[in-house]
Amino acid sequence: MANPFAIGKSAQEGKSILALEGYLDAHTAPQFEKAVEDEFEAGRIRIIVDCSKLSYISSAGLGVFMSFVDEIREVGGDIKICGLTPKVFQVFEILGFPALFDIVDDIPAAMKKYEESPVKES
């Protein structure tokens, strides 16, 4: 109740979709970390994080993206990010995330991105 955050999980065309909802802060980031870890450990390395219902993110949430992506890319997977609201996108942008992550509009665009470039080119 006090810190509403939820993660919806689904799969589509061989990609794992994690749909974040609510407030992702230092209190709730461990839940997100666990969710990404579970995907990775189950060998589901093509992840789409859908942020369309994410109302808030702090550096603890951003750190989850940052700490896993290298490992996932090494085995040919990636984390593509979609659906950022302007408020949340602003935080990604201040920290320079657009240079390091594929950030696209929505799930179909993330699917397409996986076709074009399964691992983000650097």
Binding site: D25, H27, S59, S67
Partner: protein, 145 residues
Amino acid sequence: MASIERTFKLQVPSSTENLIIIREFVSSIGAQAGFSPAENAKLELAVDEACANVMEHAYGKDTTKELSIRATLDDDSVQIEVVDTGKPFDPGTIEQKDLDKLVSARKSGGLGMRLMKSLMDEVHYLMIPGQKNELRMVKRRKKTL
């Protein structure tokens, strides 16, 4: 808007579940200061980062400790002081690594302080050993002349 200074204080246990109370407190004050939703979101995030750092680093996740936030609103700015009595640290020794370095080192941290600096107009640390640590941040109000 009154021209006198107004002060608000909040004290909560040092537990991350209270970050939401802290954000609501700060965001109400930002609204009173007349910040736009986008500017207010920045103020809220900067204070969240400051408090999350105190909870994690200064108090090492000891949730029996207390953390205080003092907000002062005047004609020119909103000033926020985050005070703790935990472990002091020297912010000058904290190296700001590039994002791609952090990624290849598989770090999940190192973003908070840089966020605070970009979000606020001023960020100062004041450590009084054996007494308190204080992080003072200022966000200026845009003048509508």
